[in-house]
C-alpha cells in the first residue's frame, strides 16, 4: 500500500446509523488521490442525476489530501463536496485549520455521509473507532458553545470539531461548515446539506502518525521552505496584515467593489484598510496546522454599545468588503461584528454580504420598501440593519427567510426587475476581485464548476512581466511569456487553461495558495518532492496535471447531468461596462464578443465541444474516465 494514506474510507449512513470502512486498492488512490477528485468519483458513481441537495441521497464527502497532516508547511487543507443547494451544481469548498490533519491521524482518508438521521447527531472518531452520538443538546446552539460542549463531553481539549451553526440547521442556502471556529468551508451552502442530514458536527482525535515514505526528506524540505517563508516580503506582509493587506491597492485604484458592485470607488476605504484594522480591532494573529505564515486575524471590540468576541476570529479581505464597501459601510467594528455573527451561526460571509447588499439596492431603487422589510430602513450604509438581517437570515425569520435563499433565488421570487441587482454566476454570489482588472480571473469565475470562487482562480498580475514570480517559477509548466492582466486573447486563454488545472490540483493536494508558487516560496520542485517523499510514488508533473484535469472533467460531467449548459458559463453584466467613478472611471469594460471567443477557445483547448462545452469521448479516454462516456449519451 502507498504511504501517506490510511487505506480506509469511512462510510456513514445516518438513516440506519450504520458505518462501514472501505479499503480501496492503491490504483484507486493513484487515480483519484483525494480532495475533490476522490469526492467526485463517489458523487458520479453513487448519486443519480437531479438528486435534490436536501434529499438523503445527496452525499456529503469530507476529503483531505495525501499530504495533509504531514509536517510539510502550508498543506493543511481539506475538501468538502456535495451537490450544492445554492447552485444546484457540484458543490465544493476547501478549508485550512486543523481538522483535516487530525482526520488523517485518526485513521481515515475520507468520510462519506449519506442518509438523513431521524434525530440530531454528531459523529465521534477516535483513532479509527467511530461512534454516532445524540446531539439534541447541541442543536440550536452557537458554534462556540458546541465546540466547548463536545470537548467537555468527550473529556479531551485536543479534539478537533467541524460543525454547522444554526444557519445550517435552518437550511440557509449559503450556510457554511466551520472547524476550530475560525476556518471555513465557506461557499456553496454545504452547511445546509449537513443540516439537512441532521448532522451537527464531526469530532475527531487522532494520535497515530501518518505513514510517510521518507520522513527525513520531508523534514528537511519543511525546514528549508519555512525558513524562506519567514524571510519572504509577501509572507511577512501576510503575517503582519493578513489578507486585508490587498484592500488598500483596490481602494486607492478605484476597483474596490462597493455599493453592490455599482462602483469601484469608495472614498471612505481608508477606514477599512489593514492598517486601520491593526490599529483598531486586531487582538492577535493565528494560523493553520504546520504553517509558519500565520495570516489569520483575531479581532476584538469592547465598547459600551458594541462588543466583538475574539473566539470567532476576525474578518478576512473578502468579509471586509462584503460587509463593508459592498454594503456602503466604512466601520470596521461593525464589519467585525457581522463576521462574528456569521461565524457563530455558520454563514458564508461573501454570500451573506452580497445578499444583504442586493436587498439594499432593491430598497434604494424602490423595489422593496420599509414595510416590506418589517420596518427596517435598508439603505446602503445602515450598519445596524446588516446585523439585524444576518440574524433574520440565520433564523429564517421574516424577510430573512427569503434572503436565506441567496440573492439569485430571492430575486426570482421578488421579481419587479430585481434580477438587475444580482451579481452571480451559477447562482452563487461573486467574490470581491473585479475581473475587469484581471480578465483571467473573469474566465475562472465564468467556468468554475461550483460557481465563482477567488480561491479557485489564479490571479493575472503574477504573470504580467518577464520577471514576475509566476513566469519565473512556473516555467516548468510551459509558462514562458508574460501577459497583461487585462489581455483576453489566445495567449491569455491558453495560459489560464494551464493555470486552472494547476490551481485545481493545488486544491486536491490541500495546498494553501499562500505557501507555494506563484504566491510564495515553496517551489514546484519542492512540492513534487513532498508528494514523492510522502507516497513513495515516483510521480511527475505530467501525472499530477492530469489529475487536476481529470477532476475538472468529472465536475463538468456532473454539472452536465444536472442540466447545466454553456449558458451558465457567464459573467454578470456589470463587468461588460466601464467602471463608474474614481481613478478608473470610464475604463475597464470587458469586450463581450472577445469574452465569448475566449470561452469557445477554452472549451477547445480542454478537448470539449466549442458549442456545447461537452467533453469529447477521446478526452475522457485520455484521462481514464471512459466509465463516464455513457453519461454523455
Amino acid at each position: 500500500m502507498a504511504f501517506g494514506y490510511t487505506q480506509r474510507i469511512l462510510h456513514v449512513d445516518l438513516a440506519s446509523k450504520k458505518c462501514w470502512i472501505e479499503n480501496p486498492p492503491e490504483r484507486f488512490y493513484r487515480t483519484y488521490w483525494g480532495g475533490r477528485a476522490l469526492a467526485l468519483y463517489y458523487m458520479l458513481k453513487e448519486m443519480k442525476p437531479r438528486t435534490d441537495p436536501f434529499s438523503p441521497d445527496n452525499l456529503l464527502i469530507f476529503a483531505p489530501s495525501v499530504i495533509t497532516g504531514t509536517p510539510a508547511p502550508a498543506v493543511p487543507r481539506y475538501t468538502i463536496c456535495a451537490k450544492s443547494p445554492l447552485t444546484g451544481a457540484e458543490g465544493e469548498s476547501e478549508a485550512g485549520g486543523w481538522w483535516g490533519p487530525e482526520l488523517k491521524k485518526a485513521g481515515f482518508d475520507a468520510i462519506i455521509v449519506r442518509g438523513v438521521s431521524s434525530n440530531p447527531v454528531y459523529i465521534w472518531i477516535k483513532d479509527g473507532a467511530v461512534e454516532i452520538r445524540e446531539a439534541h443538546h447541541l442543536w440550536g446552539k452557537d458554534t462556540g458553545e458546541v465546540q466547548k460542549l463536545i470537548r467537555e463531553e468527550l473529556a479531551d481539549e485536543q479534539i478537533r470539531v467541524v460543525q454547522i451553526g444554526i444557519a445550517g440547521e435552518n437550511l440557509v442556502r449559503f450556510a457554511n461548515i466551520v472547524n476550530e471556529l475560525k476556518h471555513f468551508n465557506g461557499r456553496n451552502g454545504l452547511g445546509a446539506v449537513m443540516g439537512s442530514k441532521r448532522l451537527k458536527a464531526i469530532a475527531v482525535r487522532g494520535t497515530k502518525p501518518i505513514n510517510i515514505f521518507d520522513k527525513r526528506k520531508i523534514s528537511q524540505l519543511s525546514r528549508e521552505i519555512a525558513r524562506r517563508v519567514m524571510e519572504n516580503p509577501l509572507s511577512r506582509d501576510l503575517r503582519e496584515f493578513g489578507t486585508p493587506a490587498v484592500l488598500r491597492g483596490f481602494y486607492e485604484s478605484g476597483c474596490l467593489p462597493a455599493y453592490n458592485w455599482t462602483t469601484g470607488y469608495f472614498p471612505e476605504g481608508e477606514k477599512l484598510t489593514a492598517e486601520t484594522y491593526n490599529k483598531t480591532i486586531l487582538k492577535k494573529t493565528t494560523g493553520c496546522y504546520s504553517c509558519p505564515i500565520r495570516c489569520k486575524r483575531v479581532a476584538e471590540v469592547k465598547e459600551d454599545n458594541l462588543t466583538v468576541d475574539p473566539t470567532y476570529g476576525g474578518p478576512e479581505y473578502e468579509t471586509i468588503v462584503a460587509f463593508g464597501s459592498i454594503c456602503g459601510i466604512d466601520d470596521l467594528k461593525y464589519v467585525a461584528k457581522a463576521n462574528e455573527l456569521c461565524n457563530k451561526w455558520g454563514i458564508d460571509t461573501i454570500s451573506a454580504g452580497m445578499t444583504i447588499a442586493f436587498a439594499m439596492q432593491c430598497y434604494q431603487e424602490g423595489v422593496l420598501n420599509k414595510e416590506d422589510m418589517g420596518g427596517i430602513e435598508l439603505t446602503f450604509g445602515n450598519k445596524e440593519a446588516v446585523l439585524i438581517l444576518i440574524e433574520k437570515i440565520a433564523k429564517r425569520e421574516g424577510w430573512g427567510d427569503l434572503l436565506a435563499e441567496g440573492s439569485y433565488l430571492a430575486s426570482q421570487k421578488i421579481g419587479k426587475g430585481s434580477e438587475r441587482f444580482v451579481y452571480q454566476v451559477k447562482g452563487q454570489e461573486i467574490p470581491m476581485h473585479d475581473p475587469r482588472i484581471k480578465t483571467g480571473v473573469g474566465l475562472s469565475y465564468a467556468l468554475a464548476d461550483y460557481g465563482p470562487d477567488h480561491m479557485k482562480a489564479p490571479h493575472d498580475p503574477f504573470f504580467k512581466d518577464q520577471n514576475s514570480v509566476g513566469i519565473k517559477e512556473l516555467s516548468g509548466l510551459g509558462i514562458l511569456e508574460p501577459i497583461s492582466s487585462t489581455d483576453l486573447g489566445e495567449k491569455k486563454v491558453t495560459l489560464f487553461k494551464i493555470l486552472d488545472i494547476y490551481w485545481t490540483l493545488l486544491n486536491i493536494l490541500g495546498v494553501c495558495l499562500f505557501g507555494y508558487v506563484p504566491r510564495s516560496l515553496g517551489t514546484m520542485d519542492e512540492l513534487l518532492e513532498i508528494i514523492r517523499s510522502t507516497t513513495g510514488w515516483k510521480t511527475t508533473w505530467l501525472e499530477l496535471m492530469e489529475l487536476g484535469e481529470r477532476s475538472i472533467n468529472m465536475s463538468r460531467i456532473f454539472n452536465l447531468r444536472e442540466g447545466f449548459t454553456t449558458k451558465e458559463d457567464s459573467l454578470p453584466e456589470v463587468f461588460f461596462s466601464n467602471f463608474s467613478g474614481g481613478p478608473l472611471d470610464g475604463k475597464g469594460a470587458i469586450d463581450r464578443e472577445q469574452f465569448q471567443q475566449a470561452l469557445r477557445l477554452r472549451y477547445q483547448l480542454m478537448g470539449w465541444d466549442p458549442d456545447t462545452g461537452v467533453p469529447n469521448w477521446s478526452k475522457l479516454w485520455e484521462l481514464g474516465l471512459d466509465w463516464l462516456i455513457k453519461e454523455l449519451e
Binding site: 490587498v246 488598500r248 491597492g249 486607492e252 479581505y317 520577471n467
Partner: protein, 76 residues
C-alpha cells in the same frame, strides 16, 4: 529640478530598503526610468498612482510629484 517621491505600498515596503524614496531629475523622465533608478522591479508593481489618476510605466513626469506604487494583488 524635478523632485519625485516614490511611495511603496503593501509588501513592497518589506521588499525594498525604504518605504519612501526621493529622486531628483534635471529633465522630464518616465516612470520606467524612475523604477530603474530606484531599483524597483516592475514585476512587483500592479498599480501606479499619481494624484487621483492611475498611470502606466511610460508616463512622462514633467514636474515634481509623488508616485504611489502598489504591489501585485492576488486572491485570498
Amino acid at each position: 529640478m524635478i523632485r519625485i517621491i516614490l511611495i511603496l505600498e503593501g509588501y513592497l515596503k518589506n521588499k525594498y530598503p525604504s518605504a519612501c524614496l526621493t529622486l531628483n531629475y534635471s529633465e522630464p523622465t518616465t516612470i520606467t526610468q524612475v523604477f530603474k533608478d530606484a531599483g524597483v522591479s516592475s514585476a512587483d508593481v500592479f498599480f501606479i498612482k499619481i494624484g487621483d489618476s492611475l498611470v502606466k510605466e511610460d508616463y512622462l513626469i514633467t514636474s515634481s510629484t509623488k508616485i504611489k506604487i502598489f504591489p501585485l494583488i492576488g486572491g485570498g
